[in-house]
Point group: C2
Chain length 190, copies 2
């Protein structure tokens, strides 16, 4: 997610957008974004139809990095339970950094309050993909109802990220891995 | 939360603020709030030092109503488990209404991203009070670790309200009551 001066204006804008929307919220102005990216407003509007489109594109651009963060390095060799626990271990690790404000995709959904906004559509897709991974792993691990377990794990993931991002919860004592483990046990998962 | 024309300008402003901040987010402008309340900006600034103070006061004013919604009508006669499940049943019921956008206190925390904002302080208090109720009931019900179970229930509560508010989850099939029940069972609660 680092940007050099040699990056294209488009990439500079998208990286600035990802950073500032995450830190300050979706109401941040176009002027602040352009200033941070070192790109004129005129250039911005040549690249994107609107601020909304730019926000959506910045979330899309961040997706591969985000998903890689949640994927166990030895995913092939890991058991389904280990792959699920890795997601929550990563959440616990990320949540204690000073710059953590919760899951960027959930935050955008909460802030926009508009399911048809292009950025909400991207965020919804990213959330669905994570739920899909959970469901596949739950099935592979023999959970009684993989779809329900996946939805339960998403409740934990989003509740924990929102609460830790808002600094009303600390995840550094294994709260979420323990909760995920209890739900996997309750679902009869290996 | 209904307001008549006979309500004081202060109450009209606080009710309009609670409604509009919830529906549109904390970035809504002072002009829109004053217009909705039928109060001049000059009057508003005589009543409140700032928009931030007004937001905090509107959350504080809403608190008794919010907590009453989550309290079982026969709380004295109900078991601790029933009192906890009632909270999640109410969440399931509220989440299917068209005007639902998730827990108003969590939304403010996610949107403001500022733990020292006066509205964040109020929201944090409301969240801590609910967690305190969960902890007391968990203890009364014989949970192995009431503090941990209360934190787990808050993860579920906030995850479910955020996801249902963003319309990426539906709670009308008993997802959260079932999850809360599984966690109470895992904690050995009666």
């Amino acid at each position: 997610m680092t940007t050099t001066d040699k990056a294209s204006p488009r990439d500079r804008l998208l990286d600035a957008a990802a950073q500032l929307f995450y830190r300050d919220g979706v109401s941040i102005g176009v002027e602040a974004l352009c200033k941070s990216a070192g790109v004129s407003k005129r250039s911005m509007y040549q690249l994107f139809d609107s601020k909304d489109e730019m926000l959506a594109a910045s979330l899309e651009r961040r997706r591969p990095w985000y998903e890689a963060q949640l994927t166990a390095p030895d995913a092939e060799g890991a058991t389904p339970r280990e792959r699920i626990l890795f997601v929550f271990e990563r959440l616990e690790q990320a949540s204690v950094t000073p710059e953590y404000h919760g899951c960027p995709y959930l935050a955008v959904l909460v802030e926009l309050k508009d399911v048809e906004h292009p950025a909400s559509v991207v965020a919804h897709q990213v959330k669905d993909r994570l739920e899909g991974f959970f469901r596949a792993w739950a099935e592979e691990g023999g959970a009684a109802d993989p779809a329900v377990l996946a939805r339960q794990l998403m409740l934990i993931f989003d509740g924990a990220s929102a609460r830790a991002g808002a600094r009303i919860e600390h995840l550094d004592d294994g709260l979420v891995t323990g909760t995920a483990g209890a739900l996997m046990d309750a679902a009869g998962m290996r």
